[in-house]
Amino acid sequence: MLQGPVIILTSFAYLGILFAIAYYADQRADAGRPVIANAYVYSLSLAVYATAWTFYGSVGRAASDGVGFLPIYIGPTLMIALWWLVMRKIIRISKQNRITSLADFIASRYGKSALLGGIVTIIAVIGILPYISLQLKAVSTSYSILVQYPEIVMPQALGEQSMRDDTALWVALILAAFTIAFGTRHLDAAEHHQGMVAAIAFESLVKLLAFLAVGVFVTFILYDGPGDLFARAAAQPKLRSMMMPLEGVAGGYASWAWLTVLSMMAIMFLPRQFQVTVIENLDERHLNKAIWFFPLYMVAINLFVLPIAFGGLLHFPLGRVDGDTFVLTLPMVERQEGLALLVFIGGLSAATGMVIVETIALSTMVCNDLVMPVLLRMRSLRLNERPDLTQLLLGIRRGAIVLILLLGYLYFKLAGEAYALVSIGLISFAAVAQFAPAVLGGIFWKGGTRSGALAGLIAGFAVWLYTLLLPAFARSGWLPISLLEEGPASIALLKPLALFGLAGLDQITHAMIWSMLANIGAYVGVSLSASPGVDEHRQASLFVDVFRQGGEGGGARFWRGTASAPELYNLLARFLGLAAADAAFREYAGARGKRWPEDALEADAELVHYVEVQLAGAIGAASARVMVASVAKEEALTIEELREILDEASQVVVYSHRLEQKSRELEAATTELRAANERLKELDRLKDDFVSTVTHELRTPLTSIRAFTQILLEHPDVDAEQRGRFLAIITKETERLSRLINQVLDLSRIESGKAEWRDTEVDMRSLIGDAVTGMSQVFEESRIKVELELPQRVTPVRADTDRITQVLLNLLSNAAKFCEPGRGHIRIGLRDEPDALRVEVRDNGPGIDPRDQALIFDKFRQVGDTLTGKPHGSGLGLHISRQIVEHFGGRMWVESRRGEGACFAFTLPHG
C-alpha cells in the first residue's frame, strides 16, 4: 500500500491542509479577528524549535549517547525563565522600532548600520544552511526508507545515489514553492505572517501527536510499559552502559553544560525563533503562557525518546539500522502502515515548519539588510524614482527563498552525509550563538559599539568557520583530511579540532569555548577602546532604556532637520503601496486630531520618525534610514548635543517629578499666604476701625467732662445746686470713661489670650439670681417687670463665675436699656438641653432688624443708637460676652423681629 504515489499524495494533501489553515488565518486577520491572537497558539508556534532534528535525530542521539540529547531541550527551559527580563525587552524594543528580523535588530541597535546588518545576514544564512540541509536530509531519507516498505533498507545501502539526491532536490524545490506561497504573498509593514503562524502551530500539534503515537506504540504495545523495556535493555551488557551515559560521552559534564548554554542561545537567536517569538508576537502578555507551556511541550515531545531508542536498539542488530530512523523503522518492521505514514507526516511537518519559518526569516534579512541597502546605494539604478517598489521587494524575497533552499541542498550534498542529524544541527546552533553577545550586550549595556559588535561577530564567526564548518567539509572529502589530523601546513597548534592544543573536548564544546572567547573578547574590547558615534549613542539609549520611555515617539526627539510631508508620503507609498501609505498617514494625522489629506501635516521630527519606522517595517532599519535621508535633510547632531538630549531625557523625568511637587507645594503655600494676607488686611482694617471708634468713644465723655469743668473753672459764681449737677455729670462721664477703658483692656486681654480664667462648677440658677438682684435697682428705676423661669434643678457646668456674671449683667442691662420705662418686661429663662445649658433673656423692646442681628456682636456696633439718638454704652459688651461664651465652648445668638422685642440666648456645654 505504501508506494511512492500514495506517500507523495498524502504529503501534498497535508501541505494543502496547511495552506488552507494559513489562508483561513490570513482572511481572519484581514477581517480584524485574528485566530493567532491567543497565548496557546503563540506557545505552539514557538515549538517550531522542534524540527526533524527532534523528531528523528533525538532518538538517534539517544541511541548513541543516552540522555545526551536532553540539554538541547533543557537549555530553552532555563532560558525561558529569563524571558521575562530578556525577551520581553526585545519584544518591546522590536515593536517600538518595527524590527523585521534579527539582523535588523542588531543593525538598528548599533546605529542603524547597514554593514552590520549585512554581516549578520551573511552569518545567519551560512550558519543556518547546515540546519536546512538537515531537514532536507531527514525528509528525503524518511521518504527513501518508507517507499521500501516492507523492507528496511538504509539509503546508503541502496546504491542509487542519483535517485536519492533527486528526492532531496525535489523536496527543496517543493518547499521553496510552498514557502513563497506562504510567506511572500503580500508585503506587510509590520512583517506579520499570521497565516504562517497558524499553520506552524498546527504543525506543532501534528508532530507532537505523531511522535507520541510512536512512543506509546513502542513502549506499551511493543513492550509491556517502560519498566519492561528498560529491564530488557539492562539485560544486554552493551545497552546497560547507556543507562549511565554522562561519563561515557567525550567531555562528560562539560559537554552537557555547553550544550545547555548553546541551546539557551539558540532558542533566542535562531532566525526562525526570533521570527515567531518577537516579530510575530501580537501581544506581550502571551509570554506569560509561553513561559511554561512551551517547556511543557518540550517535555512531552521528549518523554518517549529514550524508550524508542532502546526499543530500536533491542529490535535491530547493532549498526544495521541508523538510530536516526528508529522512529520510522520501528512501526515499519511491525507492519504498522498507518502509523508509519503518520510518522512520515509528523517528520514532514517538523521539517516543513522549520524550513518555512527559517527561510521567511532569512529572506527578510537578505532582502532588507543585504540586497536593498546595496541597491539603494547604487544611484545608477535610480530606485529612488521608481513609483512602486513593493513588487521588487517581493521579488527579492522570493529569489532569496529559492536560493537559500538550493544552498541548503548543496550543503547536504557536500557535507551532509558524514554527520548524524543532531551533529549537523549543532553546527548551526553554534553559528547563531555568535549573535548572543551583540544582542544581549546591546540591550543591557549602553557601552557596546558598532565596531565592537562587528569585531565580535566577525571574530566569533571566523572561529566557527574554522573549527566547525571546515572540519565538516574535510570529513566529507571536499578538503584534505590531513587538515584535521595535522593542522594547516602541519602546524599542530592550529588543528581545527584542537585549536592551540585544546584537546580532549568534543567538537562543539571546543568550538564554543574558542568562538565565545573571541566573540565576547572582541566585542567588549573594541567597544571599550573607542567611544560610540552619535547614532550609536542614540540607539543604545533607545534600546537599553526601552522600558523607561513612553510610546513610539521616543526616537523623534533625536531628529533635527527639514522635510516635507508630501515627499515623505510619496516615499512611503513607493515601498508600501498607496493604500498602506494612506492608512499610515491617516492614522498619524488622526492621532493628532487632524485629517489626512485634508489638513496639511507639519513635517516635523515626529512625522519623519514615524515614516522611518513605518518604512523600517518593510525594508529594515538601515535601508529606511537611507531612504528617509534622501528626502529629509537632517542636520547632524553633535555628540555633545546628543549627550545633552540623553542626559536631559534621563533627568527630565526626575526633574519634572520634583518640579511638579514643588509647584504643588508652592500653590498650597500661595493659597495659605493669600488667606493670611486677607486676614491680616481685615485685622488691620478692624484695628483701624477699633482705634477710631475707641478714640471717638473716648472723646464723647472727655468732651463733656472738659466742657463742664471749664464752666466750673470760668464761672466760680455758679450756684451750688448747678455745680452739684455739673459735678454729677462729670463723675458719671468719668465712670463711663473708666468703664470703657476697662472694657477695652478686658477685650484685648481676651483676644490675646492673656485673660485669666478661673473655672469652677457653676450653678447657673444662683448666678442668674445674683445678677438679677444686682440689677434690681436699675429695674426698679425703670419700672421694669422681671420674670424668672428657672427649673428646680439644672446640670452644673464648668465656667468662670465672674465672667458668666459679666455676661448675664451685660444681657440684663442691654435688655433694661431697650425697654420702654414703665412698660418694660424682661423674662429670663433657663433650660437643660441634651448637651448644654441654655439661658435666654427676652425683652419687649423695639426688637432688632434681621439685617443687624449678625452685626450686633461686632465691636462697637450699636443698633439702638439710631432709634434713641443717644449712645448706650461702649458697644463692646455683646462682643465681649460672645467671646466669653465661646471661650467655654458655647454659642451666643439673638432671635428677634422688629417691634416684637429681642431674645438674647447663649448655651454653655455640660462639663
Binding site: T77, A81, Y253, I291
Partner: protein, 63 residues
C-alpha cells in the same frame, strides 16, 4: 495583580535553580546505576526536576 517588577527575581531564582539541578555535581548524584519504578534513575530524575521547574514557572508567570 502581581507587580511586574516583582516577577523578575523569582524568574531569575528559577533559572538559577535549574542551572544547579541540571549540572555537575547534582546531576552526578543521580548518575548511578539502577532504576526507579523501572525507569533509569538519571532519566527519571531529569524529568521530575524538569516538571518541577515548569510548575514553578507556571506559578510565577500566571500570577
Amino acid at each position: 495583580m502581581f507587580k511586574e517588577k516583582a516577577k523578575e527575581p523569582r524568574f531569575v531564582a528559577i533559572c538559577m535553580l535549574g542551572i544547579v539541578l541540571f549540572n555537575f555535581p547534582v546531576l552526578a548524584l543521580f548518575n548511578v546505576p539502577g532504576t526507579l519504578f523501572g525507569i533509569p534513575v538519571l532519566y527519571a530524575y531529569i524529568f521530575v526536576a524538569w516538571a518541577l521547574l515548569i510548575v514553578l514557572l507556571a506559578l510565577v508567570a500566571e500570577r
